[in-house]
């Protein structure tokens, strides 16, 4: 800001000021001369008629002479100061206006740039104010909604856009489940998958995420970004169909191997020699492993594509555990293991999918058996826990076997992960079991955790809420 920049107004003041001062100076000089003249004339002629006039003139001149400095101090100088100040404030006002105008220009430019940015986003963007009125629709959103009016013209609520919203079961999505609703009313960032049905009856599969816009910690509005996922959905559907088809195709020859080796093993085609029986048992066991793998892959693919149908039924967990232990008896006997169960008597029937629970226990128990040493001990506990948050079932499976090395512990739930110490022992095992059961527990609103020390055994726990609201 250049405070010395002259402008018209201050120049006019300067001119006036410049004119007044010389005038006063002139007055001062003239009066001084006249005073001198008067004094000298007076000296020459004593009091005559003219003297009275001269005295009047002298008085007048004296007045002027003495008033001039006062005039100067009390009028000119303040005026000068005032003029200077005016000039300064005029200058600063002028530059304030200049910088304001340039800021406004910058803001407009930035606004236009951000507008262009938002508009260029390939996904749809919709922004609302805190009352839910749409304040912005980017180009993709306008195209999706087939709505090309200016959104700032009249108040348009986000739920009044010309599309109907349906959920994955083809039913109308309730407003409370919409991510924009959560953003505006619950201040939370949520994502959802749904479909838009437009006025021309076309349907688009959408994946959206909405978050609140916070300004000074108050919800100032909400913004949602959504994308057309029709292609991804199609690919996903093809993937799931492929896995289902492949699994079924694989299961047919596996069934044939299973049954024929079973019949051979049982002597249905004649008595076998020791080695013949050994070989056939190996074939049978390998086939069982493959069947397990196919089942696990199928379950994982269903879980991941969200297609696993959870069929909760009132289930007696204690009974289920005992059944599974009985089924695993041959393997338990083989290693001469001791199984200790502590299954709490008054555990109520819990509403869970028995098939999924069966997989959890089969997995945990098979692992415990596999990784136990000869003559080892396996403990299975089922108990009920009640606290202020509600009641839950806690189940524990403990073995005294190989254990999980500390360095591998954070990876045990990873898909296909197997710790080094078990891979060295036997190459069996897919590394999928724990991954699958963790997903099953989580989808049942439970938790799974473990403690382990290498060569000192492992304990797995999982909890399931007793008042299961799915």
């Amino acid at each position: 800001m250049d405070i010395n920049t002259p402008n018209k107004e201050s120049m006019i003041h300067k001119e006036v000021y410049d004119k007044v001062l010389p005038y006063l100076l002139f007055v001062f000089i003239v009066s001084s001369i006249l005073i001198f003249e008067t004094i000298s004339s007076t000296v020459l002629s004593f009091i005559t008629f003219k003297t009275i006039n001269r005295i009047y003139i002298f008085q007048g001149l004296l007045n002027v002479f003495f008033i001039s400095p006062f005039l100067y101090v009390f009028m000119l100088r303040p005026l000068k100061k005032q003029l200077q100040e005016n000039r300064l404030s005029a200058l600063s006002f002028q530059s304030a206006i200049a910088s304001y105008i340039s800021s406004m220009k910058n803001i407009e430019e930035e606004k236009a740039r951000y507008h262009a940015l938002l508009n260029s986003i390939g996904d749809g963007v919709i922004a609302t104010d805190h009352e839910g009125n749409v304040i912005f629709l980017n180009a993709t959103a306008k195209k999706t909604y087939q709505y090309h009016n200016d959104v700032t013209q009249k108040a348009l609520k986000w739920y009044d856009l010309p599309v109907s919203i349906i959920d994955e079961q083809d039913k109308e999505l309730s407003i409370k489940k919409h991510p924009l609703y959560s953003a505006l009313h619950k201040r939370s960032t949520t994502s959802a998958a749904f479909s838009y049905v437009r006025n021309d009856k076309t349907k688009i599969a959408i994946s959206a995420i909405a978050s609140p816009v916070l300004y000074n910690n108050i919800t100032d509005g909400a913004i949602m970004v959504f994308k057309d996922v029709s292609k991804e959905k199609e690919i996903d559907r093809m993937k799931t169909e492929f896995i289902a088809l492949a699994s079924h195709q694989l299961r047919t020859p596996l069934s044939a191997i299973k049954w024929f080796s079973e019949m051979l093993k049982n002597g249905d085609a004649g008595v076998l020699q020791k080695q013949q029986k050994e070989f056939i048992v190996n074939i049978y066991d390998s086939c069982e492993r493959m069947i397990d793998l196919v089942n696990t892959l199928l379950n994982i693919s269903r879980l991941e594509s969200g297609k696993l149908v959870i069929d909760p039924k009132p289930t007696n967990l204690a009974l289920l555990i005992e059944e599974i232990i009985k089924e695993l008896h041959p393997k338990i006997k083989e290693k001469r293991l001791k199984i200790i169960t502590s299954l709490h008597k008054d555990i109520p029937l819990i509403s869970i999918d028995p098939n999924l629970m069966r997989q959890v226990y089969v997995n945990l128990l098979t692992n415990a058996i596999k990784y136990s040493h000869q003559n080892g001990e396996i403990i299975v506990i089922l108990s009920k826990k009640v606290d202020q948050n509600g009641s839950e079932i806690v189940s524990q499976v403990t073995d005294s076997g190989l254990g999980i090395p500390k360095k591998d512990q954070k990876r045990v739930f990873e898909r296909f992960f197997r710790a080094d110490n078990v891979v060295k022992l036997e190459t069996e095992g897919t590394g999928l079991g724990l991954y699958l059961i963790k997903k099953i527990i989580e989808v049942s609103n439970g938790n799974i955790w473990f403690e382990s020390e290498e060569n000192n055994g492992t304990s797995f726990w999982f909890s399931l809420p007793l008042n299961n609201e799915i």
Binding site: T252, P253, A256, W259, F260, D268, I291, N295
Partner: protein, 125 residues
């Protein structure tokens, strides 16, 4: 002697059924698809039908529906023996009137025979 109609398009599995069930004392008839099954039923009346789902010409659902709609053989118990174990399939078959649903790769052939034995024992009572 009790008889079983096995409806299965895979020849290996069909022969496994035949060997085992004959060994267990049953008379075994084999049909390789749904239409053959319906045709067989014109000539024989089995005590139980073992029905696969994925078959050419006529699949298991259609066959099951037709069996249950016929006056002559709607009372013959049908056990679905399939390799698909999805809840939708199981529910659909049970709704159409099947008495049981088995996933082939999850059951031993001895177990399957045991199921048939138990079913027919119950019926006898």
């Amino acid at each position: 002697m009790l008889s079983v109609l096995v409806v299965e398009d895979d020849t290996l599995l069909a022969s496994a059924y035949k060997i085992k069930l004959t060994h267990s004392g049953y008379k075994v008839h084999i049909a390789n698809d749904g239409q053959m099954a319906i045709d067989s039923l014109q000539k024989i009346k089995p005590d139980v039908i073992l029905l696969d789902i994925r078959m050419p010409v006529k699949d298991g659902y259609q066959t099951l529906k037709e069996i249950k709609e016929s006056e002559v053989y709607k009372d013959i118990p049908v056990i679905i023996s399939s390799n698909s174990g999805t809840k939708e399939n199981i529910d659909r078959c049970l709704e159409l009137g099947a008495v049981d649903y088995i996933v082939k790769s999850d059951i031993s052939i001895d177990g399957l025979v045991e199921k048939i034995n138990n079913l027919l024992k119950k019926d006898k009572r």
